[in-house]
């Protein structure tokens, strides 16, 4: 696992509670708002299960800690998106909180429904970008959620031990976290693969 230079992280009173909201004007036509909310709730839950941090959805986009939106091309943050595939999403390091996804992608939650050869799994990208929001940079461990690449029509939604050790070194350990539960989930994922 790798930190950003200066090891930035969210520094508030513990237990840390972060709010997140979606830019209602900037969603994706491929998924319903309910599907998007459900995916991100699951993705935030993955990280919340290993560190003493809670994530609460809010309607108030302006004051949310984490602002999530789907944008196309040049969207004003100096890092334009590039159309189908290529760059899928990007995020800013703590405590900025902006999480942007490329609106040009064919975002999917179920590859049985979405047959496109360039379909991209939203939950896999959400888990990865939330890792950035929390302060993790890209990992060289191929099975880590923080590994920078993702093949179309593939999923990587579970945290790897590399991700867990990295984020726990920033925020501490969730008292309910057990390593055996994590290893069990990794094993079931490997068997499924």
């Amino acid at each position: 696992y790798v930190y950003f230079p200066g090891k930035p992280r969210w520094t508030r009173d513990s237990p840390l509670k972060l709010t997140y909201a979606f830019s209602q004007e900037n969603l994706t036509p491929y998924l319903t708002p309910a599907q998007i909310r459900r995916v991100f709730r699951r993705a935030f839950g993955k990280w919340a299960s290993v560190i003493p941090v809670s994530f609460v959805e809010t309607e108030d986009y302006v004051f949310a800690d984490i602002k999530i939106g789907f944008f196309a091309g040049d969207h004003g943050d100096g890092e334009p998106f590039d159309g189908v595939l290529g760059v899928l999403a990007h995020t800013f390091s703590p405590e900025n909180g902006r999480l942007h996804l490329d609106n040009a992608e064919t975002w999917a939650v179920d590859f049985d429904e979405q047959k496109s050869s360039v379909a991209v799994d939203l939950e896999s990208v959400a888990v990865h970008e939330i890792g950035h929001v929390l302060g993790l940079a890209h990992s060289s461990v191929k099975d880590a959620a923080m590994y920078p690449t993702l093949k179309p029509r593939s999923k990587k939604v579970d945290l790897n031990i590399d991700d867990v050790v990295g984020v726990q070194s920033l925020y501490g350990t969730n008292p309910n976290f057990t390593l055996s539960a994590l290893l069990a989930s990794e094993t079931s994922t490997n068997l499924a693969d």
Partner: protein, 94 residues
Amino acid sequence: RNPSQFTINPSQPDVVTIPEIKRHLHRFGYLQRSNDSKSDAILFEKALARYQKNLGLPITGKPDSDTLSHIRLPRCGFPDYVESKTTAFHAGQK
């Protein structure tokens, strides 16, 4: 900036030119721009080796097939090597 210059054109997945590889390595933090053509080749090789090491690929320093297929993969836009002076992604405090 023309966004597509940062990534490989998915409509031509099999063609990856050296300038595209260099743009990719620069975009994701592996290669600084240099005007010195002499050291250019050495810097390019070093950047490729760092890319290969960082992504768990065989380290050859050459644009081999493993490396090219990885360069073509969709990915996160955040650089892999983040210099503290990388501004866009450190865009200030809330």
